[in-house]
């Protein structure tokens, strides 16, 4: 439509972020709760088991859930304080319509009719695909599945994508290329048995904290830890070998390691012969990739590259772990397959203590990429362009195959198309692209151009402030379903409370919209369990096969690892959900016995050629810029920037800069500096630390507005996965001018309100009444 009518400060006054500190009912010194409900954390991909304390239909605290095998009671600060997101004063409690002066409260009927009328109007005028949908992977499997079906059959648009596009798609694409399936190769217990652990491009301690313990357990068993990262992140500190590679140079390091393995015959020739295809070509591609060559590119001493390769090659067992540092690049897929090449060349896969896994950043990052809310995919990780796959899903959905649209645009491409005026309407569910996509200024311009935007969310995120219609959805603890952790373990999320005020469960909202669009016949569900049952059938025979998994089994066994296909003949032919069997025990470790998921059962080597990143440093922008996370914040901060104790732990982003660079630029810790790239600039305080490469600066990305790291990043995409190059940009840094500093201080002061300090117009008391229920 147009720019949001209010200023940032006005939005802050009305919708937060407000720093919330106290549980409903205040702090009590005796335990006071009615119920203790087993569930999981709502944040990162580890999906820690947790117990929530419940009183009067509100979550009032937590207890460790010792019996859950993955985390055995352990939690990070986010999990501990997540209960403060419930009963939060910023919570959206009723539908709203945008007015020239802000938002007005409307009824559900009005909100839904207006949304549906706009969808129909825009689609009649510009075609079905002119209305797009974006969703998040904090959603349960059931919701992800429903979104995929909803966009295709209710909105009838091809343009649906998800925020995993900003996260694990490179890993997904790389895994599929190498192994034919997209999942962590093993359950985390295998980490503890590895004799060498090669960690590259992942700040495990802050992004996947519980995994720290698995790695320490391996170390106690005698494992060597190799850590490659441009920063001396907390775990790198005690690694046996630290490789401070330059951002964007990962594939050079990995190619050189493969070169050494082949040169020194540290490869498993029998494994290569029996279980893989394409080794010769890949070996050729690294024949000149000497450690000396890689040292020039990466900045790591050649001897250390040799040592890393030898340790990995010589060890009996070994694991490779990576995450966004290596995947968030225009070379993301190249980097992932380069890791796979190492694992395959040494046969360190499909055996205890061996494997190659990506660390999924988002809660349901794994499950969310399996059930069809990617633009190119149907449930079960099926290909939307494959006629057989389409036919099967059409049968499950009971629709003619032609009704399923083809492949649509990816997340960043959708924003590009909105900017170009090709997409006119948008519906989003738990997705905050204004903070999470690169080049925020561009994306803001795009949102301003939309003719209509309806958002389903529980807080008014930076992106949601652009919406014409706001539909209050549900928090994690208000709906039940399943989620799939980074290990590949399907777990059960329980709902200790119901949504407050007029807020509703997301899936019920989608059902209503579908009904009003006249497509209700495809969406006859009365519970999320029914959605899961249909998901099982839809996934059957796909690579992400959930057909042998039931909710009950998930609960009774503390999670089932997919693939869990059916194991009896009876179910093989049935299209009757009630007849699906559930005898499969699940698959904690993939590829056992060297069996891979390509049609011939063999894994693929992928030859990679070294190339530079989308943007490299030059005279004008001489410094590498990279981004990442901090432990107390999560993704775009929609939730964590509202939880007081977590904000106190890390209230604002800081620019990490090495003393050597700081000295050359005349910068000291706490100084205000201006960071500029070709996309924009950020005014931020410096943290001078010798734990970062001297040619690189780092900033965490969880903040919005003028504190957003994504004002600086670029929209260049990996050609295969279409993941944006978040991790590599060229920037320049200088001391801020006094005016800039004043601006920075103003932005910092106006980034949040505390509960105690809310303006009169905030209406907190009125909201509290509703929140109390």
């Amino acid at each position: 439509m147009a720019k949001p009518p209010l200023s940032r400060e006005d939005y802050l006054d009305l919708y937060g972020p407000t720093l919330h500190y106290t549980p409903p009912g205040g702090f009590r010194t005796v335990d006071d709760y009615d119920d203790l409900v087993d569930t999981h954390c709502c944040f990162c991909g580890q999906q820690c088991g947790i117990k929530l304390k419940v009183k009067d239909n509100a979550v009032v605290g937590f207890e460790p859930r010792y019996e859950f095998p993955f985390n055995r009671g352990k939690l990070c600060p986010k999990g501990i304080k997540r209960y403060l997101q419930g009963s939060h004063p910023d919570r959206l409690l009723h539908p709203m319509r945008r007015t020239p002066t802000g938002y007005e409260r409307i009824t559900w009927d009005e909100a839904l009719s207006e949304t549906v009328a706009k969808i129909q109007e825009i689609q009649a005028k510009y075609g079905k695909d002119s209305f797009a949908m974006l969703s998040g992977v904090s959603l349960t499997n059931e919701k992800s599945y429903l979104v995929g079906k909803f966009a295709r059959l209710a909105l009838q648009t091809a343009n649906l994508d998800y925020n995993g596009r900003l996260c694990m798609v490179s890993a997904g694409a790389g895994n599929k290329k190498a192994y034919g399936i997209d999942r962590s190769s093993n359950h985390w217990e295998d980490i503890t048995q590895a004799k060498v652990i090669f960690i590259i491009g992942t700040n495990i301690a802050e992004c996947f904290p519980i995994t720290t313990d698995y790695i320490w357990r391996a170390r106690d068993n005698g494992a060597k830890i190799i850590y490659a990262d441009p920063r001396m992140v907390p775990m790198a500190r005690t690694a046996d070998l630290f490789l401070p590679l330059r951002v964007g140079s990962d594939s050079a390091l990995l190619m050189a390691m493969l070169h050494v393995l082949i040169r020194d015959r540290l490869i498993d020739e029998e494994f290569i012969r029996n279980h893989t295809v394409g080794f010769e070509e890949t070996a050729d591609a690294v024949s000149n990739a000497t450690p000396e060559w890689a040292a020039e590119i990466t900045g790591i001493p050649a001897e250390k590259i040799e040592l890393a390769a030898r340790w990995y090659g010589e060890a009996e067992t070994g694991m490779i772990l990576h995450a966004r540092g290596l995947e968030h690049q225009t070379k993301g897929v190249d980097n992932v397959v380069s890791c796979a090449n190492l694992a395959l060349a040494t046969g360190k896969i499909g055996k205890p203590g061996c494997g190659h896994s990506t660390i999924t950043g988002q809660g349901n990052g794994q499950g969310g990429r399996e059930h069809g809310h990617k633009c190119d995919q149907l449930p079960g990780n099926r290909d939307i362009t494959n006629p057989e796959h389409r036919k099967y899903i059409a049968e499950v959905w009971g629709c003619p195959e032609e009704e399923i649209p083809g492949k649509g645009l990816t997340a960043q491409e959708i924003l590009n198309a909105i900017h170009a005026g090709e997409i006119k309407g948008l519906l989003s569910l738990c997705f905050n692209p204004l903070v999470s996509l690169p080049d925020a200024n561009f994306n803001r311009e795009a949102l301003d151009k939309l003719e209509h935007y309806t958002v389903i969310d529980f807080f008014l995120s930076e992106t949601a402030q652009h919406a014409d219609i706001v539909l209050p959805g549900s928090l994690h603890e208000e709906d039940e379903g399943t989620s799939t952790s980074g290990e590949g373990r399907v777990i059960k999320i329980n709902a200790p409370v119901t949504p407050p005020g007029e807020a509703r469960r997301d899936w019920e909202i989608m059902l209503d919209i579908a009904n009003r669009l006249g497509r209700g016949k495809y969406f006859q569900y009365t519970s999320t369990r029914e959605i899961f049952e249909e998901l099982r059938l839809a996934s059957r025979g796909g690579t992400a096969d959930y057909s042998g998994i039931t909710w009950d089994k998930v609960v009774n066994t503390m999670g089932v690892f997919w693939p869990a296909p059916q194991v009896t003949e009876r179910g093989k032919t049935t299209m009757n959900i009630a007849e699906l069997d559930s005898l499969h025990p699940g698959t904690p470790r993939l590829y056992e016995g060297g069996k891979f998921y390509h049609a011939d059962g063999k894994a693929r080597f992928n030859a990679v050629k070294w190339r530079e990143s989308g943007e490299v440093v030059d005279e004008e922008y001489p410094i590498w810029f990279t981004t990442g996370r901090v432990v107390s914040q999560y993704l775009s901060g929609t939730q964590t920037r509202r939880i007081g104790p977590l904000v106190d732990q890390f209230p604002h982003p800081r620019l990490e800069i090495h003393p050597r660079m700081a000295k050359q630029l005349g910068i000291a810790t706490d100084d205000w500096v201006t960071v500029q790239t070709r996309r924009g600039e950020v005014i931020i305080q410096a943290n001078v630390v010798n734990t970062i490469r001297p040619d690189t600066v780092f900033m965490a990305y969880h903040w919005g507005g003028k504190e957003s790291a994504n004002l600086l990043t670029q929209r260049a995409l990996d050609p295969v996965s279409k993941i944006p190059e978040f991790k590599v940009s060229a920037c320049r840094v200088r001391l801020a001018t006094p005016e800039e500093q004043a601006e920075g201080e103003r932005v910092k002061a106006a980034s949040a309100r505390t509960e105690k300090n809310l303006p009169a117009g905030y209406g907190l008391n009125a909201r509290r009444q509703e929140l109390r229920r």
């Binding site: 001493p301 432990v631 050597r660």
Partner: protein, 216 residues
């Protein structure tokens, strides 16, 4: 006395503050954390060190308390000051060799870690040791610890003439742990400016003075 012990291993600590956030959820002092996290100067290190009450066998804090407000239980746990007795004099704060007790002016009373007495007294683990993602904080028997972990737990400390033994063990690392935190010292071509040129945006500027083993 229970044979369950508390172990602190700073080498494992990742500075995540889960312990502090969880401690502030204990029933007896909800909203306040009794565990401290020390940061070594962030400019030069990511090392952090958690600190709970050491639960001394002969607690100095109790010895200097004029109001007899600090009690040690039979299972070796040194409690926070007792509310009606504590006169807020802060003698304990000053005397504790580990710097543990804190004075809270809003309640005019000393509070400190009581090893989650509400939990440990009924057989549960303390909150901080339950949640610690990397088991830098561990609660269990010495045997359990030794069966699965490396490092030497130590619970005797010397402060001048005073020897203190504690219920809480500090874990000393096995062998030498090299903690060279400056990234430059792990990089290539440190002393060959030409080779470093294309990696270092400041190579064209005046070289920095070199000190032992690295730049700066």
């Amino acid at each position: 006395m229970s044979d369950l012990r508390f172990f602190i291993d700073p080498i494992r600590c990742i500075g995540c503050k889960a312990c502090m956030q969880a401690c502030s959820e204990c029933a007896t002092h909800r909203g306040k954390s009794m565990i401290h996290l020390e940061h070594i100067e962030r400019g030069t290190s990511t090392q952090t060190a958690p600190m709970v009450c050491m639960h001394c066998d002969l607690p100095t804090c109790a010895a200097v308390c004029p109001a007899d407000a600090i009690k040690r239980t039979e299972d070796g746990i040194v409690q926070s000051s007792q509310a009606p007795r504590c006169i807020g004099c802060s003698n304990c704060v000053n005397a504790c060799p580990f710097g543990v007790p804190r004075y809270y002016p809003e309640i005019d009373q000393m509070l400190k870690c009581d090893m989650c007495y509400d939990r440990t007294s009924i057989g549960q683990k303390p909150m901080c040791a339950s949640v610690c993602p990397s088991e830098a904080l561990f609660y269990g028997t010495l045997e359990e610890f030794q069966a699965r972990r490396k490092g030497t737990p130590k619970n005797t400390f010397q402060f001048g003439a005073q020897t203190i033994t504690t219920k809480v063990f500090i874990v000393l690392p096995e062998g030498e742990i090299g903690l060279d935190m400056d990234v430059i010292s792990h990089m290539d071509a440190r002393f060959e400016p030409d080779a470093f040129d294309h990696l270092d945006p400041f190579a064209h500027l005046e070289p920095l003075p070199q000190a032992q083993g690295g730049l700066l």
